[in-house]
């Protein structure tokens, strides 16, 4: 099952901000729901999310149960050199997820 769906423009102009969009498959379980037997479903949300551009962190987010399931993020990164965007996230259970996308700077 793919963890995430990423959208980055096919090519970006040097020095200009470009749009990055990512949607991550995660239930972002709030901890306030109960299952059919009435038992509480434990909280498990993505806590930290980072976006590295050629190794440098350019954007990060600390999330909570206040972010909806299958979290969606759209943010901007200023284009420098061609290379890679590396995304990483960790949830309350310590499960890590990652994905990446190429950046072509013209």
């Amino acid at each position: 099952m793919p963890d995430a769906r990423i959208s980055v423009p096919p090519s970006v102009a040097r020095g200009k901000p470009f749009e990055v969009r990512i949607i991550i498959r995660h239930a972002m379980e709030t901890g306030y729901r109960t299952d059919e037997s009435g038992k509480s479903i434990p909280r498990n949300v993505i806590r930290t999310f980072t976006c590295r551009y050629n190794g440098d962190v350019v954007f990060s987010a600390r999330m909570s149960s206040g972010i909806a399931a299958n979290p969606y993020l759209r943010f901007f990164v200023t284009a420098k050199d061609s290379g890679q965007l590396a995304f990483e996230w960790v949830d309350d259970n310590g499960v890590r997820g990652s994905d990446s996308a190429a950046v072509t700077v013209v």
Binding site: M1, P2, R5, R21
Partner: protein, 267 residues
């Protein structure tokens, strides 16, 4: 002579009546005439419409992408993937979702898309059956449904599908549950009016499987129908029950011509 003439005319009249009757039966009376049909998306708020319109942020695509992977992955003792027989889904599956539910001769019954995929999985791939609402079945259904995106819903209700269609229509028009309400009362007589802060739609299923905000997940049309029954405090048939498939067939006929939306997003 006169008696013979009367009999001849009577026979002719009956014959003509039968022809007209058959024509009427296949033409069917529609409570919602085709030009009046509106997809549920036209009753949705701006949030839902924006989410469905943008492929990059439509959460349903997470399942579509899973479905594409599953389509190409070998499964079962036969070691075949869907692609082994069906090749590129973009061509082989084009129009398939828009024609379901349909009567399948091998299965001997009307099947919705989920049942058809499940069948192939067991019969052709000799793989374990896929449970309704399982991630795998939702993903495959979403992927196949995408290949009919924008195509008009068009199902057959003649011949072997007839009985299921009639049962579906009877279910739709009958009252159910503690609230003793028929589907037709909300979705035919009161569509466009408000239920608390929501506007009631015409109740079409042309956007399923859909990512429903209430579920925080993609789900099938059968799940949505069961939810509706829960809402009117009626007993829900189990997922995959024939009553639900009959109802899906009736709904698809009712929605004839509406473009299929995939993956749908609904509140």
């Amino acid at each position: 002579m006169r008696v013979v003439r009367v009999v001849a005319i009577s026979i002719a009249a009956i014959a003509i009546g039968a022809v007209f009757g058959a024509a009427l039966a296949s033409a069917q009376e529609r409570a919602l005439p085709l030009p009046a049909l509106r997809s549920g998306i036209t009753f949705a708020g701006s949030d839902v419409r924006a989410m469905q319109a943008d492929d990059a942020s439509n959460p349903g695509f997470l399942w579509v992408e899973s479905g594409e992977k599953l389509w190409n992955a070998p499964a079962g003792t036969a070691g075949k993937s869907c692609a082994s027989c069906h090749g590129d889904a973009r061509s082989s599956m084009r129009g398939v979702a828009a024609r379901h539910p349909r009567f399948d001769a091998t299965a001997g019954t009307v099947q919705d898309l989920e049942a058809r995929i499940g069948d192939c999985r067991v019969r052709r791939q000799q793989a374990a059956p896929l449970a309704r609402e399982s991630e795998e079945l939702l993903s495959l259904t979403a992927y196949v449904a995408l290949q009919s995106r924008g195509l008009p819903v068009e199902v057959t209700i003649d011949g072997s599908a007839r009985a299921a269609f009639e049962r579906g229509r009877a279910f739709y028009e009958a009252r159910h549950g503690q609230m003793n309400i028929a589907c037709a009362q909300c979705h035919e007589q009161n569509w466009g009016k408000r239920l608390l802060s929501e506007t009631m739609s015409q109740g079409h299923g042309n956007a399923f499987p859909a990512y429903r905000l209430e579920w925080q997940s993609l789900g099938s049309l059968q799940r949505r129908l069961r939810a509706c029954l829960f809402g009117i405090r009626a007993e829900m048939p189990p997922p995959g029950a024939p009553e639900l498939t009959d109802l899906e067939l009736y709904l698809a006929w009712r929605a004839q011509g509406l473009p299929l939306e995939a993956p749908g997003v609904r509140r």
